[in-house]
């Protein structure tokens, strides 16, 4: 069928086209439905793409029929397909959840623009994953970022505005750094196509312009993925954003930034250059370790659960950075597994908090007291997500921790293994603070609420169950991460 040839572009087009449709129809319910259907279809396309990639290998799609390197190429390999599934799958679940939460948290006038912007954000994120052209990546990055600034600013608390503005300033600086870096690369290679770049760059590795470009790009992406100490925008943004947006951003946006980092470091440049010739491996390991310890410590003292999870996200991104810095096959596998598994746990946790906010009005620690009595399913899903975050065996979090420790031990870097484990112990502390409050405190007598509506429970339960499923059956995730990291280690040539 001819439509299946256009899957790579359909993944982006569906949400992109649905966005103006929302504005045109201008009904709150309808725009929710359109958004949900668009992301569901986009997810379906991603699944088809993954199957196609697994059968035929990397897919190259020429946008508008112009042949690369002149035209823009969309290139989908295993890693892209993996990320597409993650982004669109989580977006679908979050949207399933969104209806009531958005109706309550967003003022009526803004619901339609909210969904339209959300669609743009999804389109941008998927675009980054499929694009085989570095400038195109920048454009999609900015589409998703500008949409995110807007989405965050729609939070109920007025501090959301301030948070969004700070994110905007830092995000734009990051994006401009990337733009400058791409400019430097283009200056010497004359191409923007990833494959072409990968072919031409090795001869220029000693060139100072190229090295400067590499540095600009790395720092720019570091800002976008909240790599410690460039994470300052993240805690406030996640805390004050509407629940749905926190869930979507925490689960996907930073992960897509990690994907960009992997693409640039390993595909466009090569492993030897990025992590060996340049001292980036040490930098990533040092920053990653600091993030794990310091952000986890800060998380322990938070009383707002959303902020607590935001700091925990900074720590978890530290794990990923550390794993990439190890620069070996198992390290990359671990990083990719953690991208996926962390999306599952943070998705489950932020959605549960969303349900809590929907019923109780806020996500403060003291409001969660005795939550188990009123909202047992939400409480259990927080528990499961939390256990997975700690890395209790039998959950998805354990699998990625296992691979990470194995990767450090392979290199004989046992102090890093200890740091990873210490991070888990700190996670026990901050998660247990929540668990104790939810399960073992008596609820404030004034509160009498019931479980959230089914449409919120279902996506939450799916994510919580996925945390356990992918902790026991890892054929899908481990195989994918393994083959994707094999591709990355081999460099651009596929």
């Amino acid at each position: 069928m001819s439509l299946s040839l256009h899957l790579p572009v359909l993944v982006i087009l569906l949400p992109l086209m649905a966005s103006p449709l929302c504005i045109l129809i201008d009904r709150a319910r309808a725009s929710w439905l359109i958004t949900l259907i668009a992301s569901l279809l986009s997810f379906y396309c991603s699944v088809l793409l993954l199957q196609q990639v697994q059968i035929t290998g990397t897919i190259s799609y020429e946008l508008g029929g112009w042949q690369p390197p002149w035209g823009i190429e969309y290139r989908i390999d295993l890693l892209s397909a993996f990320m597409l599934i993650l982004v669109t799958g989580l977006a679908t679940l979050v949207l399933l959840f969104a209806r009531y939460s958005v109706e309550q948290e967003i003022s009526k006038l803004r619901i339609v623009p909210f969904y339209a912007t959300l669609l743009l954000a999804i389109a941008g994120l998927t675009g980054i994953c499929v694009s085989g052209d570095v400038f195109n990546v920048f454009v999609f990055l900015e589409i998703s970022s500008i949409a995110s600034y807007t989405l965050i600013s729609m939070g109920r608390d007025r501090r959301a505005l301030n948070a969004a503005f700070k994110y905007l300033v830092m995000g734009t600086i990051g994006a401009t750094f990337i733009l400058i870096g791409i400019g430097f690369l283009y200056m010497h290679t004359g191409t923007l196509n990833m494959q072409d770049l990968a072919g031409r760059l090795p001869a220029l590795y000693d060139n100072r312009t190229i090295r400067a470009g590499f540095a600009f790009i790395t720092v720019g992406i570091g800002l976008k993925l909240a790599l410690f100490p460039l994470h300052l925008w993240l805690p406030n943004a996640y805390t004050y954003a509407p629940s749905v947006v926190s869930a979507l951003l925490a689960a996907t946006a930073t992960k897509v930034a990690v994907y960009m980092l992997l693409r640039f470091l390993l595909n466009i440049f090569s492993l030897d250059f990025s992590l060996d010739a340049m001292p980036l491996d040490l930098i990533l390991i040092a920053l990653g370790s600091t993030a794990i310890i310091s952000a986890s410590l800060v998380a322990i003292f938070q009383v707002n659960l959303k902020r607590l999870l935001a700091y925990s996200s900074v720590a978890q991104l530290g794990y990923i950075a550390l794993a990439i810095g190890l620069a070996n096959h198992s390290g990359l596998t671990a990083a990719m597994l953690h991208i996926f598994n962390h999306a599952l746990m943070k998705g489950a946790l932020f959605l549960s908090l969303g349900a809590m906010v929907y019923k109780l009005g806020d996500a403060e620690l003291h409001s969660s007291q005795g939550l188990i009595r009123h909202m047992p399913l939400t409480s259990v899903s927080i528990l499961v997500g939390g256990l997975s975050l700690i890395g209790i065996p039998g959950t998805a979090g354990f699998i990625s921790k296992w691979y990470m420790i194995q990767a450090t031990l392979e290199l004989g870097l046992w102090p890093l293994a200890l740091i990873i484990l210490a991070g888990s112990v700190l996670a026990v502390i901050y998660i247990w603070k929540i668990v104790e409050s939810i399960f073992f405190q008596s609820p404030p007598s004034t509160v009498a609420v019931h479980e959230a509506p089914v449409s919120m429970i279902v996506p939450m339960a799916i994510l919580a169950a996925a945390n356990i499923y992918f902790g026991l059956n890892t054929h899908l995730t481990v195989d994918l991460a393994d083959s994707a990291s094999t591709l990355l280690v081999m460099g651009g040539g596929q």
Binding site: I146, N162, V169, T172, I173, A175, G183, E364, H366
Partner: protein, 136 residues
């Protein structure tokens, strides 16, 4: 120093970039921050346009007898980047308008103070609550 005149454009780029960056960091007024940000982005545009220039190259319009053209691609790219920059500025300014509406100020330190006060207003409440519970 023989490179200096030839690299004139790039010196401008660096100057604009640093000036913009400095404004973003040092200014407390949000509008000024956005202006700095625009300056910062503009420097990147000049970088692209400068690198498009080919020595002795002609304007990239097909014409007989001319074989050497300047590279048109960066111009096109930078058009897109300008659009991105304009939308960022627009969103930033829109945010400032709403900040002014809700906070009544656009000075960063004042905003921070208001936020801090609000944070504090949130926390002692809890401490009190916890203390009350203990008494019970």
């Amino acid at each position: 120093m023989s490179h200096f005149p030839g690299l004139f454009n790039y010196w401008i780029v660096i100057f604009l970039m640093m000036a913009g960056f400095y404004v973003v960091i040092s200014q407390g007024n949000l509008v000024k921050k956005i202006i700095g940000l625009s300056l910062f982005q503009a420097s990147a545009f000049i970088l692209y346009i400068s690198e498009a220039n080919v020595d002795g190259g002609h304007v990239p319009i097909l014409e007989e007898g001319i074989t050497l053209y300047s590279n048109p691609l960066p111009h096109v790219l930078i058009l897109t980047a300008i659009v991105v920059s304009v939308s960022t500025t627009a969103v930033g300014l829109a945010l400032i308008v709403r900040i002014k509406e809700t906070y009544g100020t656009v000075e960063e330190d004042e905003l921070q103070e208001i936020d801090n006060a609000q944070d504090e207003a949130d926390t002692p409440d809890q401490k009190q609550q916890i203390a009350e519970e203990k008494e019970i």
